[in-house]
C-alpha cells in the first residue's frame, strides 16, 4: 500500500494542475485556432469559413506595421540589452568595493512595472516637458530629441525604455555566469601573460554560452509579449506607428468587435513564439540525448 502511494502520490498531486493547464492553455489555444477560421465579430461564432481572417490580416497595412515593429523592437531590444548587460556585468566583476550597492541600483528597474517605466519615459522623452526642453533651457536651442512623437522614430523610443528596464536583469544573469567560471583557468591564463580582453573573449564569454541562451529566451518572450510598455509610452501612436502584434490583437478584440481578426492575429503571434522556442527545445533535448 505505502509502495503504491509512493508511486502514485506525485501523479495525484500534479493531476489538477495538469488538467487546468490542459484546459486553460491548450484548450483555449485550440478554441482560438477554431475561432480564427470563422467570421466572428461581436460574439464568437463557430461555423468554419476558411482562411478569410488570415487573408484580411495579411492585407491590413496596420498588421504589416505591427510585425515590422516587432522585428525592429525585438532585435534591437535583445541585442542592446545583452551587450549593455554584459558590459555592466564585466565592469562590476572587477572586484570593486561598492559592488552590492551598484548591483542593486542596476537591478532595480526590473522591479518596476512596465506601466511605470512607460509613463516615466513618456515624460522624459516628451519634447515639451522632458529632455529636449531641459537642454534647450540650458541654452542649446537647436537640440532636438523628439523620437517619441516622430512616427519614424517612435519605435526606437520604445526600445530605449525597454532596454533601460531589462539590461539590469541581464547584467545579474551574466554576473552569476561570470562568477561560475573556474577561477583556476583564469589564473593560469594570467600566469601565461594573456591580456585581460583576450581572457574575456577567448575563455570567459565562450564558457557562458548557456547564460546567453537563457538571457535570449527571457528577452525574446519579453519582446513578443510587450504590450503594457507600448500602451503606457505611446499608446501605439503617433497614428499606429508603434503598434505591436499584441496591441493590434487587443484593439481588434476589445475595441472593434472583430473577434475573428483578433484570433487570427493571436495565432500568428503564437507562430512567431514557436519559431523561436522550438529550435531551442530541440537543441536542449538533443543535448540530453547525447
Amino acid at each position: 500500500m505505502t509502495e503504491w502511494l509512493e508511486r502514485h502520490i506525485p501523479k495525484m498531486v500534479l493531476a489538477p494542475s495538469f488538467a487546468a493547464v490542459l484546459v486553460f492553455v491548450y484548450g483555449f489555444i485550440a478554441w482560438t485556432a477554431w475561432v480564427s477560421l470563422t467570421r466572428s465579430r461581436l460574439l464568437p461564432k463557430y461555423e468554419i469559413d476558411g482562411l478569410i481572417q488570415y487573408e484580411r490580416l495579411f492585407n491590413a497595412p496596420r498588421w504589416d506595421t505591427a510585425m515590422s515593429n516587432l522585428f525592429v523592437f525585438g532585435t534591437l531590444f535583445i541585442l542592446i540589452s545583452m551587450v549593455l548587460g554584459l558590459m555592466l556585468a564585466i565592469l562590476l566583476d572587477q572586484k570593486i568595493r561598492t559592488e552590492g550597492v551598484l548591483r542593486t541600483i542596476y537591478l532595480y528597474p526590473m522591479a518596476l512595472s512596465l506601466i511605470v517605466t512607460g509613463t516615466a519615459w513618456k515624460w522624459i522623452m516628451n519634447p515639451g516637458l522632458g529632455l529636449e526642453a531641459m537642454v534647450r533651457g540650458w541654452g542649446f536651442e537647436s537640440f532636438t530629441f523628439d523620437w517619441v512623437i516622430n512616427p519614424d522614430k517612435a519605435i526606437y523610443a520604445v526600445v530605449i525604455a525597454g532596454v533601460w528596464q531589462a539590461s539590469g536583469f541581464v547584467m545579474a544573469l551574466f554576473l552569476a555566469g561570470l562568477r561560475g567560471v573556474d577561477g583556476e583557468i583564469i589564473k593560469a591564463a594570467q600566469v601565461d601573460g594573456i591580456p585581460a580582453w583576450r581572457i574575456y573573449t577567448a575563455i570567459i564569454i565562450p564558457s557562458m554560452a548557456p547564460i546567453f541562451l537563457s538571457a535570449f529566451i527571457v528577452l525574446a518572450h519579453l519582446a513578443i509579449k510587450s504590450f503594457d510598455l507600448v500602451i503606457a509610452l505611446t499608446g501605439g501612436g503617433p497614428g499606429y506607428a508603434t503598434d505591436l502584434p499584441a496591441t493590434y490583437m487587443y484593439t481588434m478584440a476589445f475595441s472593434r468587435g472583430d473577434i475573428g481578426q483578433a484570433a487570427s492575429s493571436a495565432m500568428v503571434m503564437m507562430g512567431v513564439v514557436f519559431a523561436i522556442i522550438v529550435p531551442y527545445l530541440y537543441s536542449e533535448l538533443r543535448a540530453k540525448h547525447d
Binding site: N59, P61, I149, T234, G237, G239, F254, S255
Partner: protein
C-alpha cells in the same frame, strides 16, 4: 420567556425572509463614471427610485466603453444579460442580430416617441422596425471652439468657409499663435477628419461615403480634397500634439495658447467648468459647411426574464425619454435633449444653436451620424477608416495614396 424569545426570533427571521417589496427592477451597465457624467447617471438613478424602482448600478470604467463591452460580452455569453446597457449607433443592431435585445415598442408607442424624436435618430433606436433602445441625448460633433480674445486681437471672425479658416490660421501662424489645438489620438484625428469631410463632401456625399461605404465616393476627387485639407490642418497643430488628451487641447484654447479646437460639445463642459462664458470668453460655431453630425448616447434594452425586470425595463425606457430627465441630464452633460419638445430656457446659447441646427438639418436631410464616434458604421469598418486617417495625419503620405488606402481598408474590413 423561552417562547417569547422564540417568537421574537422567528418574527425577525420572517421579516428578513419576506421578499423585498416586489416592484420594477433594473440592472444598468454604463461607463458614466467621471465627474459630470457620473452626476448625470445619478439623476436617472434618483428618478428611477422615486418611481418605486430598484436600481442595481453596474458601472464599468475604462477604455471609453471597451471594458464595459467586455463585461457585457461575458454576461451575455453566460445567459445573464443586464436589463439595460449604454450602447449606441449600429452596435445596437449588431447586438440585436445576436438575438439578445428586447422589444420595447409598447412603451415607445404609448409615449409617442415617434412624434418627439427626429426621424434619423429614431431609426437608430429601432431593430427591424421594433423599438429596442432609448435615446438619452444628442451630442453635436462638428463644433469649432475658439478663444474670443485671441480672435479679436488678431481681427478674425469665426470662419464661415474652409478658405476663411485657412486664411485665419495662416494669419495666426504669422502672429506666432498655434491656430488649432489638437490631441494626437486616433479618435481625435478622426473627429477633425469627419468635420473636414462634411465641409468638403457635403451632406449627400458624406452619407454615401461614411454610412453607405460607396466605393465611388470614397475614391472621388472630393475625398482627395478632404485629405489635402487634413494635410493643411496638420500644419496648424503645434509640435507636441501626439498623445495629448482632448481636454488638455481644450484648455490650450481656454488659456489662449491656441485659437481653435474642433471637438464635440463635451468640450463645452470644460469651458463651463473653468468658469468661462459662451459668447464672451469662448465662441462656438458649427464647422464650415452644411449639416449636423450627431453622437447620440442611448440605452439598449436586453431580453430579461421575470415580470419585475420587465416592468423595470419599461419604466426605465419611459423615464429616459421623459422630458424631465432629458432636460436635467443634458444640462449636466453639455449635450441637448434628443426629444425636440423640451423647453430649452435653462440651456446656454451654444445648446440653443445646436437645437436650432438639429431641427433645420432634420428637415432638409442633413442630420447625419458621426462616423468617428461609432454612430455611422460598425466597429471594424469605422476602425479601418480611422487607421487610414491617423496614418495619413501622422506621416508624409500623399492624398492620392491615402484615398487608395482608404478604399482598400474599407474593402478589407467588410
Amino acid at each position: 420567556m423561552k417562547y417569547t424569545a422564540f417568537a421574537a426570533v422567528s418574527a425577525v427571521a420572517l421579516a428578513c425572509a419576506a421578499p423585498a417589496v416586489a416592484g420594477p427592477e433594473a440592472e444598468v451597465l454604463h461607463w458614466w463614471t467621471s465627474g459630470g457624467e457620473a452626476k448625470s447617471a445619478a439623476v436617472l438613478q434618483q428618478e428611477f427610485a422615486d418611481n418605486g424602482g430598484t436600481w442595481t448600478d453596474m458601472p464599468v470604467a475604462g477604455g471609453g466603453g471597451d471594458a464595459a463591452m467586455t463585461a457585457l460580452r461575458a454576461r451575455v455569453l453566460s445567459g445573464n444579460a443586464p436589463t439595460a446597457v449604454q450602447l449606441k449607433g449600429p452596435a445596437i443592431q449588431e447586438w440585436y442580430e445576436e438575438g439578445v435585445l428586447a422589444d420595447i415598442s409598447s412603451v415607445a408607442e404609448a409615449e409617442g416617441w415617434g412624434d418627439v424624436l427626429p426621424g434619423s435618430i429614431a431609426e437608430h433606436m429601432k431593430c427591424e422596425g421594433k423599438w429596442c433602445a432609448a435615446p438619452v441625448n444628442v451630442h453635436r460633433v462638428d463644433w469649432i471652439w475658439a478663444n474670443a480674445a485671441l480672435l479679436e486681437a488678431n481681427g478674425i471672425e469665426m470662419p464661415q468657409t474652409w478658405e476663411d479658416f485657412n486664411a485665419a490660421a495662416d494669419k495666426l501662424m504669422a502672429a506666432g499663435i498655434t491656430p488649432l489645438a489638437h490631441g494626437g489620438q486616433a479618435w481625435q484625428d478622426a473627429t477633425v477628419f469627419e468635420a473636414v469631410a462634411l465641409g468638403f463632401l457635403g451632406p449627400e456625399d458624406f452619407r454615401k461615403a461614411f454610412v453607405e461605404l460607396d466605393m465611388d465616393t470614397l475614391k472621388s476627387e472630393k475625398m482627395t480634397a478632404v485629405f489635402d485639407q487634413m494635410r493643411k490642418m496638420r500644419g496648424y497643430v503645434d509640435a507636441n500634439f501626439p498623445g495629448r488628451d482632448w481636454n488638455l487641447a481644450t484648455s490650450m484654447v481656454m488659456n489662449g495658447e491656441a485659437a481653435f479646437q474642433i471637438m464635440g460639445d463635451w468640450a463645452k463642459g470644460e469651458f463651463l467648468a473653468a468658469g468661462k462664458e459662451p459668447g464672451k470668453d469662448f465662441l462656438c460655431a458649427s464647422v464650415p459647411g452644411d449639416g449636423f453630425l450627431y453622437n447620440v448616447d442611448s440605452f439598449a434594452m436586453f431580453e430579461v426574464d421575470g415580470e419585475d425586470k420587465q416592468a423595470g425595463q419599461d419604466l426605465l425606457a419611459k423615464l429616459i425619454v421623459g422630458p424631465k430627465f432629458q432636460e436635467v441630464f443634458n444640462l449636466n452633460k453639455g449635450s441637448i435633449p434628443a426629444r425636440v419638445d423640451v423647453k430649452l430656457d435653462a440651456f446656454d446659447t451654444c445648446a440653443h444653436l445646436s437645437a436650432k441646427d438639429m431641427g433645420e438639418s432634420a428637415d432638409n436631410g442633413s442630420l447625419l451620424p458621426s462616423y468617428a464616434h461609432g454612430m455611422a458604421l460598425r466597429g471594424a469598418q469605422a476602425g479601418a477608416i480611422t487607421d487610414v486617417v491617423t496614418a495619413h495625419f501622422n506621416s508624409e503620405m500623399s492624398s492620392a495614396e491615402a484615398v487608395q488606402m482608404l478604399a482598400d481598408a474599407v474593402a478589407n474590413s467588410l
